[in-house]
Amino acid sequence: MAIKTAEQMAGEQREISVAEFFEKNRHLLGFDNPMKALLITVKEMVDNSLDACQEAGIMPEIKVKLKIINEDRIKISVEDNGPGIMKEQMPRIFGKLLYGSKFYKMQQSRGQQGIGVSAALLYSQLTTGKATLVRSRTAANKPVHEMTIRIDTMKNEPIILNNITYDKTFNDHGTYIEMEIEGKYRKGDRSVDEYMKETAISNPFAKFTYYVDSEKIIYPRLIDKLPIEAKSIKPHPYGVELGIFERMAKNTKAKSVLSFITNDFCRVGSGTAKAVLKMAKVSPNNKPNHLDHQEIEKILKGLQKSKIMNPPTNCLSPIGEQVLEKAVQKDLKTEFQAAITRPPSVYRGMPFLIEVCIGYGGELNPKGTAQIMRFANRVPLLYQASSCAVTKAVQSIAWGQYHVEHQGNNPTGPLVIAVHMASVWIPYTSESKEALEPYPEISKEIRLAIQDCARKLKSYLAGKKRRQLDAKRKGLFEKYLPTVADALADLSEENNAMILKSLEVIVKKEKIEGEDIDDAGEAEEIREETNE
């Protein structure tokens, strides 16, 4: 074999497109097995629909259909009543990876990196060879656009196969997507069924209709108000990594370094900025895109060492305690539920808040381990539970203290623990976005929230036990009463009926004096061997 020259080698080296990279590393985005691939595909599509509706101020109505073609082929379609997509945008949204509006935004939203739906499309294309159908309309007086799209994996560019405009019946506005993938439909903990159920809980303002072949489940809308729109915020210096900081410096519109760090970040005042620049020996008037690597590093380090106020927290949109309780009660048919929305907190310069709802009893499975539901910006997380901050927090709690049965560290019984993290940036443990990184601030908030709900559960359980005991106790007393009345009448030589009536009055009382005295007054008598 001939030895290659540097030139020859250079000729063989080429840029690998994102699409091509994904083709070879699809597991990185979670498409590692057919069951999970199905879930991720549905999830990306539904998340997009919900985000779009919410952004446009529309009460979402979403139809999800799974058609099982054979054991490992499934046709998926998702239809929404969202704002629709402009004709020109359609191929780019679906046919180009890393295209989206969310990538540079610090905003609480479902998807975070814009890799979602186009990745699903690519997966469909890779496993079935089929193109994806997209149909959309932006308003009642506008036509319906329909196209079938593929991705050119080498160029990461969309290929439009069929592009028609028609006025068939369609929603006044909305989008319909249909694709076929290699996937497996299963029931259980990490299924699409579970995803739909949990999504309905975290998005109670949406109506979902979910079909598997001809079977249909409707999740009705539980509240008639969209959540408050989550505002986007500028990055906080504590949470910015060097690479991103450097890129921001290159791309900023600011004319001076001083204006760059005071305007492009939140909570950086000019006093702090000047002090940091002085320490870094950088003139405030330098152009940011002229900074060298060392200067940039010094500035960032200086900023991160300075005392800077926490970022604003009005950028977070919680589900809300009452809404969460209602959703858990309606969707899971629990007999008791308690929720809390914790005040916002901050990890690494990122504002976040934790909400927890604990549901108990009713139609929940009374046996086995309690169900833990994890949500990140309203999206259910179904995989990698064991490495998630939520699971760890649940297991760190001494459930016995709250009268909850447990096996080892895991609570058991008819119990559901739903935990929602809302943040402008969700710290996932991996790119497939399945588990929350247990940063100390986050773990602490989750724990506090769970404990708060658990305390409410404890008092409910205690009350329930007391009521049951009370009923039992009163039942017992009533059984004895006639006999007691007979004996007392005999001893006191008074009227039997009168005594019985007095006793019955006492039993009906809410609280009976001396009733709660336990058996301590009657210490265990020593049994003696006696013939007496």
Binding site: A487, L491, S492, G514
Partner: protein
């Protein structure tokens, strides 16, 4: 007049509870606590006496109601007995009270021990001894010796009753001792041993009285022994098996028991002496082969007794307990038969008494 007084006490008891019910109070009874924690050993008097702890028993309390009702039921039974002037024994009272609450599956009592306890409670509540409530223990005793008594107008001579002896009634309160010719009393825990001694006419030979019961002595027997001992100044030798239960029989006779601490004065016999087999007797009488291994309960009982206030500081007894523990088994009196049919009467008893080989 006496019967009326007891009846009145029962009525007063019923009135108190009825009045509480009428004003909406939870009817309750004060009962002195009968447990080890509430008895004190009165060193001077040499007996176990009741402490001052009083427990309240409420009608409307899940943990109390059963006992409460049992006490009421026993009280009405006593009232009925007093009215018709008849007596029942403990077993009969149990059956009189035992029934199921109408329309339920709850039994008022399940076991006789429950009514027995309720009767003791009633004694404490009313301050009237069981016998005066017309409730008797089962008859379980026999006596022989040179004693003449008067019982319900009959004169009975204990030395002229053939092989059966005098059968001790459950209530000995009204018995009069006309003539007592004895130097001491031998108390036996087994009828078989009594028959042995009676056949050997030991009471004639040693000029004593022999009385036996079965196991732990009944109240009637204890009262009889106490009266004989105090009224005629006679020592009592307690002849029992060499085991924890035998020692406990002696302990109850001499110092009293926890459950009857409230009646200590009328039952305790300070002149009782332990003449049963001691740990030293095994070697002395060559009974090694007849040792029966202790069970766990035996060892537990032994340990409990070791801690009793009246044994705690007694060196002789502590030595015995330790020795028994080392031996690890018990020896029955009947084992003495291995030395001869009448060895117990001819040798064991006279020798021990002569040598003052007893424990106190």
């Amino acid at each position: 007049m006496k019967i009326l007084t007891t009846l009145e006490k029962l009525k007063k008891f019923g009135k108190k509870l009825t009045n509480e019910a009428k004003i909406g109070k939870n009817p309750n009874i004060d009962i002195p606590v009968r447990s080890l924690a509430n008895v004190v050993f009165d060193k001077k008097a040499g007996m176990v006496k009741m402490g001052n702890a009083v427990g309240k028993r409420y009608l409307f309390n899940v943990a109390h109601i059963r006992k409460f009702v049992q006490t009421l039921e026993v009280a009405t039974t006593a009232k009925e007995l007093l009215r018709v002037n008849k007596h029942l024994n403990l077993r009969e009272v149990y059956y009189r009270v035992k029934r199921t609450l109408p329309g339920t599956d709850i039994n008022i009592v399940d076991e006789q021990t429950e009514t027995n306890k309720a009767i003791e409670d009633l004694e404490l509540i009313t301050g009237v001894p069981r016998e005066q409530l017309h409730i008797n223990a089962d008859k379980e005793g026999v006596a022989a010796g040179k004693v003449v008594i008067l019982d319900k107008g009959d004169t009975i001579n204990w030395s002229k009753l053939g092989s059966g002896g005098w059968s001790v009634p459950s209530n000995v309160e009204n018995i009069k001792f006309k003539d007592v010719d004895a130097k001491f009393i031998i108390y036996l825990e087994k009828m078989a041993t009594w028959e042995r001694l009676h056949e050997d006419r030991i009471w004639e030979k040693l000029n004593c009285i022999i009385i036996a019961s079965r196991g732990q002595s009944t109240r009637g027997i204890r009262r009889l022994l106490q009266r004989l001992s105090t009224e005629h100044n006679l020592p009592i030798y307690v002849l029992v098996d060499g085991d924890p239960w035998g020692i406990y029989i002696y302990s109850v006779l001499k110092y009293g028991s926890i459950s009857l601490a409230h009646m200590a004065e009328t039952l305790v016999i300070p002149k009782a002496k332990y003449l049963g087999l001691s740990a030293d007797d095994i070697e002395k009488y060559g009974l090694k082969k007849n040792i029966i291994k202790f069970k766990d309960v035996d060892i537990k009982r032994l340990k409990q007794m070791q801690e009793y206030d009246w044994f705690k500081d007694d060196k002789a007894w502590q030595r015995q307990f330790k020795k028994w523990k080392d031996i690890g088994g018990k020896v029955e009196l009947a084992a003495l038969t291995s030395r001869g049919i009448s060895f117990i009467s001819d040798t064991y008893i006279p020798e021990k008494i002569k040598k003052k080989d007893w424990l106190e």
